[in-house]
Symmetry: C2
Amino acid sequence: MDKQRFTKPDGRALILYSKDKLGQVGDVPSPSRVPHTANPHLRWHPFRGEWISYAAHRQHRTFQPPPDYNPLAPSPSRPSEVPVGAWDIAVFDNLFPAFAAGAHDPPALAVATAPALGACEVLVFTQDATASLATLPLWHLELLLDVWADRYEELGARPDVAYVYAFENRGVEVGVTLHHPHGQIYAYPFVPPVPARALERERRHYEERGRGLLEEVVEREAEDGIRVVYRGTHALAFTPVFARYPYEVWVAPSRAVASCASLSRDERRDFARALKTVLMKFDGLWQRPFPYILALYQAPTDGAVHPEAHVHIELYPAYRMAGRLKYLAGSEIGAGVFTADSVPEQTVRDLQAVPVNVDG
Amino acid sequence: MDKQRFTKPDGRALILYSKDKLGQVGDVPSPSRVPHTANPHLRWHPFRGEWISYAAHRQHRTFQPPPDYNPLAPSPSRPSEVPVGAWDIAVFDNLFPAFAAGAHDPPALAVATAPALGACEVLVFTQDATASLATLPLWHLELLLDVWADRYEELGARPDVAYVYAFENRGVEVGVTLHHPHGQIYAYPFVPPVPARALERERRHYEERGRGLLEEVVEREAEDGIRVVYRGTHALAFTPVFARYPYEVWVAPSRAVASCASLSRDERRDFARALKTVLMKFDGLWQRPFPYILALYQAPTDGAVHPEAHVHIELYPAYRMAGRLKYLAGSEIGAGVFTADSVPEQTVRDLQAVPVNVDG
């Protein structure tokens, strides 16, 4: 993998990754040359015990893009976020970050406040605006795992970053406005509530049993077999017996590894294969692009040791059946209780039945 | 308030409430005469430490209503859920409950399972299909508080119910398919994760300070004033300084009271006034029906004493600005971290500026 770092005219960082040697790239652009400053702040929610990020600068967007404008594609004639060149994956600082290294002087309020330190990065998965993670070749998904590993190590090493979280929102159904294939990385200055609660339970399990909770779940799902979507030498994709979303799928290495950075080459290859299999099945299910949220969980980078952590991806589909969205409403949002119309054993059968050829 | 109980032809309960004497009602209907059995079950999510409810019977709906069909309006010629009569608010058992008293024999699986005991009720707010909570007169909202109080006491007294949660999903944007004004009550056999976490923090605060967390928040917001939407003798409506959603509003009695059942007549009257004010401002903001989730939090009915609890309503709007939905995506869903484009002090100003006349 080749990696080169640049600075945009507005001061933000750009990093280009390529499988082979990168070679020459064109001018590194940004939509504006005005130095970019972001100053998000945090407020403490005393009932939830959570930090909320406020990025009020987002309201002051001066740049109004035309409807067909794609800032994630190289475009010599229009303001773009990425340059012309032989890169495979591009990473740059989000123009309107909810977390930023330069955050400072939060307002004094009736609740605790703090600067929203950290980072928000955009990952352009490919130069091909018509592609998706499901259609990219296996080597490209493997490169994405390498990039996730690199971002984990680089951002995780920063003193203001306690958790590196990679995700993809796919589809207008989950709020995506730019259709060029891309994901994001949020580097939080704290361990966020959802992984924090999971890690607490994983740690308790690890201390009691001497091995990881997810390691055992993967083993049990592999043995049981009925909810398995992909079975490889080093990775398993499955709908967990306790899935909350219809068609929810988890992708995990069999070995309890803390992050993408600790995966061996063979493990990355099989993990990429597992992920591509699932995403192809998603798109094949109703013969149309399948919207989802992809969440990549890794060990915190908070300085503590996390033998309980086990890197994996959770995929939350937006639909509960063809054309019917799964709404999170009163029970899910207000009470935190998920209610499902179907059992995991039913929805996974539909996925199992979709034929895919990941090498095609 | 008059209250009368009936049994539907399929065995489900129906309760009619009216401000004045109810008088004679027509035949009590149900869409089908086949005895209704529901058997939802729970599975334990070991990473989230939560129960998930699976109601697979929901897939087997035999009744396919015509597009203009409104089962929440009295209708002598078509299958309806409610009878003809002078009732003001009707309550009946949900046809496809995620929680039910009759739940039994959950499947044996690799995770803990349990019968999904409890109840799911539908509350028809009015016979007028064109009304909404915002347009109902004050006495009708006060009656709704009486009904919520009654459901809290009746359901809360059941040994299988640990938490009585009332909510309204309003608008297609939050997944509503029936447009007749209605809400729901979920009576859970456990204290759900969201209120459980809030109560834990409220309890800690109560033990340390000798008074309620929300009591202090209400006092401070009333003093501060800049985020207040309604100020009455007994109730306050405000956008909390730590609001997660744009235009989020909380409605609370000033006095730390555990549930609707413990509110005095004067407090109910002022609470109804506060709620109507907020909902009229919502609809007035962009001169169109304003979709939201309304969540009513009360003390658990788990047998323990809860001096830390303080009944209140939280309203989560679906839009972050006119025509732009607030999507819960990668950060909110996967990490549990809310990111806002605006600060509470901005959005509340828009609400404050909407003139309303609750007595009109």
